[in-house]
């Protein structure tokens, strides 16, 4: 089997007393699509933050293509080719949709090239209509799309999606799922999601987080059957 694209070796995070992530060993192959599930506070977002350099791990390593990036700055990691769509859309509210995408495309493309890339991306995400609107004025769903567009425009090797379907209508969810699959043809993804239907639509392999540890890792159908998962996760959801 080929060397993994991304690998973490007993990665841990500690804030004072609490320890949201505990020695996680995780591995993702080139071009793989992996789903990350687990109840709130299982450490998924913290995990993502460490992968993208927003947090420096207290222990352990993050290897991207065998290179240790656990102490790299966020912008360096981004340049290595890891993009993230955060849970709460993080976009440039004061700028127009076009400018948002442009800022991303501009980093990797020449000035004239960037222009075209932006147009294509707007087209692809169906944002052409609102291209000149300020992102701050858009609806939540659309902001999600804009952020996705930003991430894609930097053309990363690995894309982290933190709850891409959150707060979306049913057909928006569908659209997103389609897009994710389409993206996956060329790129590796890690998707954090609660929405089981969405997961069914996209996932093959699923990793379950619980209390900062990897609980199980298995094919989606087995996971859905796994009673343990049901208890700690679906059970909770059902209760909620």
């Amino acid at each position: 089997m080929a060397a993994p694209l991304l690998e973490t070796r007993n990665l841990s995070m500690r804030f004072g007393g609490v320890q949201p992530v505990r020695s996680v060993n995780f591995s993702l192959a080139e071009g793989e699509l992996r789903c990350l599930i687990g109840p709130n506070g299982a450490g998924k977002s913290t995990f993502f933050k460490m992968l993208t350099g927003q947090l420096v791990p207290s222990e352990g390593q993050v290897l991207f293509r065998g290179q240790d990036i656990s102490h790299a700055y966020a912008h360096q990691i981004a340049r290595l080719g890891i993009g993230i769509k955060t849970q709460v859309p993080s976009v440039f509210d004061g700028l127009s949709v076009r400018e948002n995408i442009w800022l991303a495309a501009n980093r990797i493309h020449s000035r004239e090239r960037a222009g075209n890339v932006v147009d294509e991306m707007l087209e692809r995400l169906g944002l052409t209509g609102v291209a000149e609107r300020l992102v701050g004025q858009l609806a939540h769903g659309q902001r999600q799309w804009v952020e996705l567009g930003i991430v894609l425009s930097t053309d990363p090797e690995l894309i982290l999606l933190d709850e891409p379907a959150a707060g979306m209508t049913y057909d928006e969810v569908h659209k997103t799922a389609q897009l994710v699959r389409e993206i996956n043809r060329s790129k590796a993804l890690i998707v954090v999601e609660h929405d089981m239907q969405f997961i069914r639509m996209i996932a093959k392999q699923v990793t379950v987080f619980n209390q900062g540890c990897v609980l199980v890792e298995d094919a989606v159908e087995n996971i859905l059957r796994n009673p343990l998962v049901r208890d700690i996760y679906l059970g909770k959801q059902a209760a909620a």
């Binding site: 993208t52 927003q54 700055y73 966020a74 912008h75 360096q76 981004a78 340049r79 993009g83 993230i84 955060t86 993080s90 976009v91 440039f92 509210d93 004061g94 700028l95 400018e99 442009w102 800022l103 991303a104 501009n106 980093r107 000035r111 000149e132 930003i150 930097t154």
Partner: protein
């Protein structure tokens, strides 16, 4: 598209007005008016320097006067030692820029942000004030130039045409120079902001974390912005030292740095023309209030001629009522007018169509 057209129209307008002002003023206005306008132009450059780093770079700098003062002092000291103004002028830009770069590195690479930036910059300018203020003794001199402490350095030799000591730039010359410099700065900054760099610093202002996750290093961009701002302020300082032929430590003082912030606030953050307007407006006002003091003890007259009082009210009023600043608000008002006009026209048309149909 439309926005872009308006944008170009605006630029053109500013250009035309600016040049007209540059050419006509000395022919039409009294000499003293020209002299006043000269200093307003110079201060407007200072205002622009803060407009860049605060309004666009999102860096709250309470110590812009530090670079302004450094520029002025550098020019003065170099001038007394060299006597020919080309190198002093360049120094007056380079030194503050270097200082800004140093300070910026210290702050941004130390991940210091918002209020803390404010405090550090404020503190720096206060340190400069205190230090320079206590150099009255004869032992404090750089080359032949006495620093002069509280009294400052009077009788600074004016700029001369590069290379020729004798050809000193006269009062009108100073006006042309300052106004031209202001226009150049304005259009220079417009270019800068339209460039990749400009768009990126605005992006960083909007959402630093996101910019970082896209692979931009905010620290570097902020540092660059801060340095440019420092250079501009230094240049303004040099011109200022020329205009009054003196410089004193109050240039580093709290009042001075505060004033710069007022200009930007009143004129409008996130615009360039705004701070220019704010700067000229506020300065003109405090000069007008200061002149023609009532020479009596009439209480109300005293109130009305009481400059801090009036300025204070203006500032509070602006923050409460016109938080965006003069220019953006007027802009919006203008747009609103146009729109409602358009609407009225549209509604006016409807019945006609009805008749047709």
């Amino acid at each position: 598209m439309n926005a872009r057209v308006l944008n170009f129209l605006g630029l053109g307008l500013v250009g035309i007005v600016g040049v007209a002002f540059l050419i006509l003023t000395p022919r039409l206005a009294e000499l003293d008016t020209v002299l006043d306008l000269t200093v307003y132009m110079i201060m407007a450059i200072l205002a622009l320097s803060l407009a860049l780093i605060w309004g666009y770079g999102g860096i709250l700098c309470f110590g812009q006067s530090a670079f302004f003062g450094l520029g002025a002092y550098t020019y003065a000291i170099a001038m007394f030692n060299l006597g020919e103004s080309t190198i002093p002028l360049l120094l007056a830009i380079a030194l503050p820029a270097a200082f800004a770069a140093l300070l910026g590195y210290f702050m941004f690479y130390g991940r210091i942000s918002d209020v803390y930036l404010g405090v550090i910059t404020l503190t720096v300018t206060l340190i400069l004030f205190n230090s320079v203020n206590s150099t009255a003794g004869p032992e404090f001199h750089i080359g032949v130039a006495r620093l002069g402490g509280f009294n400052g350095i009077p009788g600074i030799p004016p700029l001369n045409y590069p290379g020729n000591k004798a050809a000193v730039i006269d009062l009108e010359g100073m006006f042309y120079l300052s106004t031209a410099a202001l226009l150049a700065t304005y259009f220079g900054l417009r270019l800068l902001l339209a460039s990749r760099f400009g768009r990126i610093i605005v992006g960083i202002r909007e959402n630093e974390r996101r910019a970082e996750l896209l692979g931009y290093d905010p620290r570097a961009y902020k540092l660059a912005t801060f340095t440019i701002g420092g250079a501009l302020a230094g240049f303004a300082g040099c011109l200022f030292a020329n205009w009054g032929n003196f410089v004193s430590p109050t240039i580093f003082g709290l009042a001075q740095s505060a004033q710069i912030i007022i200009w930007v606030i009143v004129g409008g953050r996130g615009t360039l023309i705004g701070p220019i307007v704010g700067c000229i407006g506020v300065q003109w006002l405090s000069a007008a209030l200061g002149a023609n003091q009532p020479s009596g003890s009439d209480w109300w007259a005293r109130i009305l001629a009481n400059v801090p009082l009036i300025l204070g009210i203006i500032l509070v009023a602006f923050v409460l009522l016109v938080p965006k600043g003069l220019v953006p608000t007027l802009g919006e008002f203008g747009l609103w007018l146009v729109r409602s006009r358009a609407r009225r026209v549209a509604t006016g048309l409807k019945p006609k169509q009805a008749e047709k149909g």
